[in-house]
Assembly symmetry: C2
Homo-oligomer: 109 residues x 2
């Protein structure tokens, strides 16, 4: 059987929390859809991940801040970046007007 779906299906326009859906997982690598609806990382919170994450923004807008950078990076349609393991980062804000859809690949460590 072929697993199949649509990345933009079943998006809740206003959820309380970010919604994470695992789309595929193999050999320790995981592909996720993340939908943000205005959420930001909690004040003072930094993601510090054991493995590399590759992420692309496919709808909406957001700002991603790295601890070792002065300014947040503004991300729009199609913008991608590779977050090295242990590069501390946070979501400063996400679009409050419409869902922000990310595709994230968490590489096996």
């Amino acid at each position: 059987m072929i697993e199949a779906g649509n990345l933009f299906a079943k998006i809740i326009a206003q959820a309380e929390q970010e919604e994470i859906t695992i789309l595929a997982e193999k050999a320790g690598t995981r592909i996720e859809r993340i939908v943000s609806t205005g959420q930001a990382s909690p004040p003072g919170f930094w993601y510090d991940q054991a493995s590399t994450e590759w992420v692309v923004l496919l709808a909406g807008r957001a700002a991603l801040r790295f601890e070792n950078e002065l300014e947040p990076r503004l991300l729009g349609h199609g913008d991608y970046l590779e977050i090295p393991a242990h590069a501390r980062h946070r979501v400063e804000w996400s679009d409050a007007e419409r869902p922000t859809v990310w595709l994230a690949v968490h590489f096996a460590a």
Copy 2:
């Protein structure tokens, strides 16, 4: 340094061949952007890959045919599927009017 870019940048509207760009590669898993501009797999050709490929179509349209299915699958914006290792498949056609942009994750075998 953070590797970053845009998935829809530098797309050649009419190329002779499909264009494949490696966006990230880690622990045997590879993320590629594939741009098709009307190409199809050659007649009688089937992809037969040693590892699982997860693919999503992010612009344009295409039809993907699996050898063990009667009809090709029509893919539009956001449609994704997981192609198991050794599931023989081919691109029947891709949009002739505008570039078709795929994001493919080739999992480590």
